[in-house]
Symmetry: C2
Amino acid sequence: MQVSVDQIRTTSAAALIAHGAGDWQAAEVARAVARAEETGNVICGLYYLESYCLQLASGRVNGTVEPQVHAPRPGAVTADARLGFAQPAFARALPLALDAARANGIAALAVAHSHTCTSLGYFTEQIAAAGLIGIGVTNASAIVAGPGGRRPILGTNPIAITIPGDGDGPPAMHADFSTAAVALGKITMARAAGEAIPPGWAVDAEGRPTTDPAAALGGALVSAAGYKGWALGLMVEALAAGLTGSVNSLDVKGLKLADGPPHDLGQYYILIDPGAHGGALADRFATVARAVADDPGVRIPGAPRRRLDPVDVPDALWQLALALAVPQT
Amino acid sequence: MQVSVDQIRTTSAAALIAHGAGDWQAAEVARAVARAEETGNVICGLYYLESYCLQLASGRVNGTVEPQVHAPRPGAVTADARLGFAQPAFARALPLALDAARANGIAALAVAHSHTCTSLGYFTEQIAAAGLIGIGVTNASAIVAGPGGRRPILGTNPIAITIPGDGDGPPAMHADFSTAAVALGKITMARAAGEAIPPGWAVDAEGRPTTDPAAALGGALVSAAGYKGWALGLMVEALAAGLTGSVNSLDVKGLKLADGPPHDLGQYYILIDPGAHGGALADRFATVARAVADDPGVRIPGAPRRRLDPVDVPDALWQLALALAVPQT
């Protein structure tokens, strides 16, 4: 059914508050849910709301904790989410990280010990909206095997990249993708729909290629482009888990399970001032964009960003959101 | 034939000097040639020496220019190669960039207006040898089309990542790969050998998939993993050409052509202090490495780095190197 972005945001916030989140933490998470739906990212929007609520109720995520932000070095900002949601921690730390990047030319924002950030591009988009290049990575629960292997070792470990446009305009590029062959959500959605998955996405528990989503979930996804995606996924693990001191993907249980230990994931963002070295970013990227426009069928990822309002939400999903938003007694 | 790494280095330096390079610039480039051969990277070693020499002779690269290094921001170091080789510019700037990364937690080193850097991993390896995470990117001559397209827009735009190991030990991970489906050198080597290329690497001038290396060179390579490699390649273009103010891949002629305008390429390196945020990089990465070791057939890229000495160099290639090293009269 057709639902406005604002309805999605207010209903999501009410659902989170009904399950124990604080007002401002709920508002930050709800804004991310609404933004995902607004941009057509169905995996990272309302589809996650029920798990957030169940995890608030079970204590798997702390909805009221205050994140702690500090800058151990002039170009390094740390936001300890303290086992709470990622969005409030990022929101508290972003102004400091933007200032650090402008002063130093480049800065890093490490979000430690957080719940899944869900849509990583949601955060790099905010960095680019402030005029800086945003590159972000996060680890997840282990579901990706190395080339030739069968054991899940890495999460889908995505990378998001947003390159700012001119002034207040939309980004020049926005991309957000898993270093696995596919996002985990596509496997779980295929299983829910009773559909097969394409060859080349996953292996079963014996390491054999499979098109059965259930076998894939009992086995492992494979990396995008073999050793290239594997190397990128390992880099993501080093930055997101290693640098932040959060736990490895190996030690994170399924992100949507209601019960279990906190996610304790990390996100790592690099913020780059486009003018730090002089350079000519806007001019050079505009030249590339013109060449792309001259090659029919090719496009710059995420340019322009689509914006849906109202959003067409599956009936059952919206009814569930409304039910979750009823205050509990 | 079997040639020692030291013979490769001294012969390469002599060849560069014989064609007009300065002594210290030649020594820096020769060190990179020898390192490529030592690590089994046959595309970036002696295979490039003849083109360096011909380009020195034609003026396509300036072998005697002094690079200019400055730090416009506390975390941003710029090395203007002034249309000379990349290796001397990097060497002059590296100490400043390492200091900046340690002080700020993260720093960027932008090499502007340089000749092809050839092996990008050669540089990130040096960053990791100093105990920092090194991530590097560079643009190249346009040979990669966007998904569904036919027009070469990006270079093979590689990414190199080196994660330091403990103390003076080898890196914990070292990867260096094209964001295209394949490195250009594999196409040119297939053409030279009269061999077909695998499906999925390239399209012809009409945008149709091809296994003919000549048709691929007249058409375009495709990106690794479709839109993922395309997005990464665009990011590389923004960082390497845009931030440094070097020219776009679109405006760079074939890197091995003897004549033509200077390459005027950029490289962009991110240096990260593993301890900047506290964290636990060594511990977390060791856990991942143990899981990899428990899954037969899987490995961490570049760990351990192989080291060949002597190196088995094709006879004709070594004879050419010796001929190039004869002082010209």
